[in-house]
Symmetry: C2
Subunit: 206 residues, 2 copies
DNA sequence: TGCAAAACTGCACTGACTGTAGTTTTTCTT
DNA sequence: AAGAAAAACTACAGTCAGTGCAGTTTTGCA
């Protein structure tokens, strides 16, 4: 329990490699099947048969069928970025500082871009995927709101903090959307300035 | 099929009245049970037993257990308000015009305020309710985005339109949140100006 | 009163998801 | 290399949400 899993630099070990591969296989198989038959006509059993895994194991990897398609993983926010935000930085302008948070999340995301593109594509045909993605954002929004509250000197998030949290969600989602619309070239984070500009335009137009 | 149900001014008729009462009873019972046992420990059968209705009938009223708790109904957007928005009005400033959309939805909402307060209260303990509410917003956001696209002279909504749609969602949710935080006095729409001001402050602060 | 439409119900079914207990596989120790 | 410990996998039995269908009751209307 000490060496292999916690030491990021050394070899991951067979157990860990198998785990990653299996997870990958499940996501991949679910994508293929959903593309082929549609989300409603794909059962967990079908995905499991395709990979050669028991249904019970499936639910050890993902909490739900949809989570497998989205390949949901816990997000990580760089503690240093968070600390800077709480301290009122880096620019002092709320929106721009929120953008830094979003940029950090987007770049540190462990999911590769091809996979992300697949998900965006599937999400256009399956509204349930979008909804789940939204729920995932919502889950982490609570965490973000705590940061905002600390930045604002409040001990508990109120409505004002929730609005800021929502804006961060909008920016994240918007970046993905612009990235998708622009042919999915480069990283999603490159679209963030466009989103911020769009928001500014929206709130200051004559 | 002609007189009773389509004529809003005359008496609704027994059938319609029973339907409304039953719906009301299901929502009410679900609230009581969820408050008492928590969402996960309330089954559809329990709600049905409390009201005296077969489970099959339950699903003729609501698509899911959660929908009953939220008392979900289709929203109505005043066609005149929509037309004005599409034409670029009423103020010409995008954000303010979005606020008019939100105000229209909030005031025309058929749900009474006590019921709304109950839902807000339950939603604090049951994240799944918030998620479903979010999904409900998302569903209608698509419709709003079409309006935005027409206003902008586009035939199909793009990323920019989606951002505007998201902002309308944020404003709606924010209004509810401020209304809830301020003791739930008056109508939620009275909190809308506060939300708009907060958004403006957010994007223009030094 | 009698007929048609709407609403309700029972029943059988699919499929997601869970708890548990037992087996296999990997890892660590000696 | 052998065996203990830990982690992962599996089979099984079960709960519950949600659906389609076919038959019954209730309501509206002539």
């Amino acid at each position: 329990m000490i060496s292999s899993s916690s030491d990021a630099t050394s070899e991951p070990g067979l157990r860990e490699r198998k785990k990653v591969a299996r997870r990958e296989a499940l996501v991949s198989a679910s994508h293929r099947l959903v593309r082929e038959h549609g989300l409603d006509h794909v059962t967990v059993e079908m995905i499991c048969d395709a990979v050669g895994v028991s249904p019970r194991t499936f639910f050890n990897y993902f909490e739900s069928k949809i989570d497998a398609v989205l390949g949901i993983e816990p997000w990580v926010l760089d503690p240093e970025v968070a600390a800077t935000f709480v301290a009122g930085g880096p620019t002092g302008r709320t929106l721009d500082d929120c953008a830094h948070i979003v940029a950090s999340v987007l770049t540190s995301s462990p999911v590769d871009h091809d996979r992300m593109g697949d998900v965006m594509e599937l999400a256009q045909r399956e509204p349930a995927l979008v909804v789940r993605q939204l729920a995932w954002f919502e889950q982490h929004k609570v965490e973000v709101e705590k940061l905002v509250a600390r930045r604002n000197g409040n001990d508990v998030p109120g409505p004002a903090e929730e609005i800021v949290g929502s804006m961060i969600m909008v920016m994240t989602r918007g970046s993905f959307r612009y990235w998708d619309a622009s042919g999915r070239t480069g990283a999603p984070s490159t679209c963030l300035p466009t989103v911020v500009a769009e928001l500014r335009r929206l709130l200051t137009d004559s």
